[in-house]
């Protein structure tokens, strides 16, 4: 159903069930692609140039913080891709660190409905 006008969302999530649940909601709304590790995430950013990234923090191979750091250290226009951290880490220190590293928003996974995530994404798209 993906048409040309749909925006691209890169979902970085290592839990397959959560990934599926997000996928079901996103299908038809956005062109979504999924990365299960931090390394994959950086690869896909390069390959697909997503309009927005949903980033988990606790990831195999390379954690979300490092993904964020490397993304923001790029020299091309991809460096400014909006990032919404969607993680189950809820400590203030984690939220602060993410913001400092350049996350545009932070949501605690268990504490938000999927609809809240999609409306946050839409909000970013409207502002863009």
């Amino acid at each position: 159903m993906a048409d040309e006008t749909q925006r691209t969302v890169l979902v970085v999530e290592d839990d397959p069930i959560l990934k599926n649940l997000l996928g079901n909601t996103f299908s038809g709304r956005y062109k979504a692609m999924y990365a299960g590790t931090g390394k994959e995430a950086l690869q896909y950013v390069e390959e697909y140039k997503p309009d927005i990234i949903l980033l988990d923090l606790m990831l195999p191979e390379m954690g979300g913080f490092e993904v964020l750091e490397q993304l923001r250290a790029r020299t091309d226009e991809l460096k400014d891709t909006p990032v919404i951290v969607v993680s189950n880490l809820s400590q203030e220190s984690d939220q602060e660190k993410a913001k400092q590293l350049g996350a545009n928003d932070y949501m605690v996974k268990a504490e938000v409905a999927i609809e809240e995530i999609t409306s946050k994404i839409d909000q970013f798209f409207q502002e863009a």
Binding site: N88, Q91, D94, A113
Partner: protein, 367 residues
């Protein structure tokens, strides 16, 4: 009298010894002159001999005093090298250890007498113990914070999956009975998520006691945004939340996020235990370097025999427990800890007649 330094003391003693030497040389020479005259059996000497005798006595005096001077200087220098410097080094080392010097880097007091050397050895051993204890502490807090994030991840990931799946299900068309079951499951799931959040808050607050960020904060603003956050909850419970700040409230010195947490808990509690059509009123009262905050409700009240328990971990009042409204008995425990970390205390006044409770606490004014 100000304490004298060891260096000054050794110089004074040296000068004193020199003075005594001078005096004794003077009287010694006089004695010697008389003895020599007595030995010669005369009272006067021919002038050339007299001059010679004086010269000899003066020369002898100078040599004696000079010897004393040299000995005094040697003593001062030895004391400086062997006692004063090692002791100064020791006090510098103690000071530096306080600000991060490693026990392994404590220098050796070269040439110090063994008593001082022994102090160095004892201090180094003690420093190593302190360092080990410090490392253990750091390790413990690292383990604790690792545990917090692991628990968060391990518990929250499945809870998130259940929540999102139930939410997706709730959107599907289905018969009313099933819809209610899904809604119940979702409600219970959210309760679990809330409990995980509170448990994490407890460990974060307990382990992060020392990481408070105190900054000047506008209390009316903080309370205003907190009420906004809870408005939906209040409307659902049909409870009116009122807040009229006084004309002037000084900025307070507080950890904004933790104080917001306290306010959310108190106001949420007040709403939770107030029947429909009731109200929750928040008021402020600046007084002597602090601002008092009152959260008054028209709710079910707190019986006198529960007065001492409600701030305990996991304690729930009898009436409160019956309500099954999502309380978990941790809110007031944490809130009191946070308030205490702001130098105040959280307490409440309950109405004998059983209706209405006022929780109150104070926070310091920003300077």
């Amino acid at each position: 009298m100000k304490n004298i330094s060891l260096r000054m003391l050794s110089v004074i003693l040296a000068v004193l010894a020199l003075a005594i030497a001078g005096v004794s040389v003077y009287f010694g020479s006089e004695l010697l002159r008389e003895n020599i005259l007595g030995f010669l059996g005369t009272n006067t000497l021919p002038p050339q001999f007299q001059q010679q005798l004086t010269d000899i006595l003066v020369a002898q005096g100078i040599i004696t005093v000079a010897t004393f001077l040299i000995v005094a200087i040697i003593i001062v220098v030895i004391l400086e090298r062997m006692v004063v410097r090692p002791l100064n080094l020791l006090s510098a080392v103690i000071q530096q250890f306080g600000s991060g010097l490693h026990a392994d880097d404590i220098p050796d007091p070269k040439g110090a007498p063994h008593e001082i050397d022994h102090i160095f050895e004892t201090f180094t051993t003690m420093a190593k113990h302190v360092e080990e204890a410090r490392a253990r502490d750091e390790e413990m807090s690292r383990i604790k914070s690792d545990f917090i994030s692991t628990a968060a991840h391990q518990l929250r990931t499945p809870l998130t999956g259940i929540r999102w799946a139930l939410e997706a299900m709730a959107k599907e068309p289905m018969e009313e009975g099933k819809k209610a079951v899904v809604a119940d499951a979702l409600e219970k799931n959210k309760q679990l998520i809330q409990i995980v959040r509170t448990l994490l808050d407890v460990s974060a607050i307990e382990s992060g006691r020392y990481n408070y960020k105190f900054e000047p904060t506008s209390l009316p603003e903080l309370i205003g945004t907190t009420i906004e956050q809870l408005q939906e909850h209040a409307t659902r419970q049909q409870v009116a939340v009122k807040f009229i700040p006084p004309e002037y409230v000084p900025d307070i010195k507080a950890d904004k996020e933790r104080l917001r947490w306290v306010l959310i808990n108190l106001i949420e509690n007040a709403i939770r235990y107030t029947p429909p059509k009731g109200s929750v009123t928040i008021s402020l009262e600046p007084a002597r370097g602090r601002v008092f905050i009152y959260v008054h409700d028209t709710g079910i009240g707190i019986p006198d025999n529960e007065r001492n328990n409600i701030f305990e971990r996991f304690y729930r009042g009898k009436a409160a427990a019956k309500m099954q409204n999502g309380g978990n008995g941790l809110g007031l425990y944490i809130a009191r800890n946070v308030v205490r970390d702001h130098g105040g205390d959280l307490d409440f006044k309950a109405n004998e007649a059983g209706i209405g409770t006022t929780f109150f606490f104070s926070v310091p004014v920003a300077t």
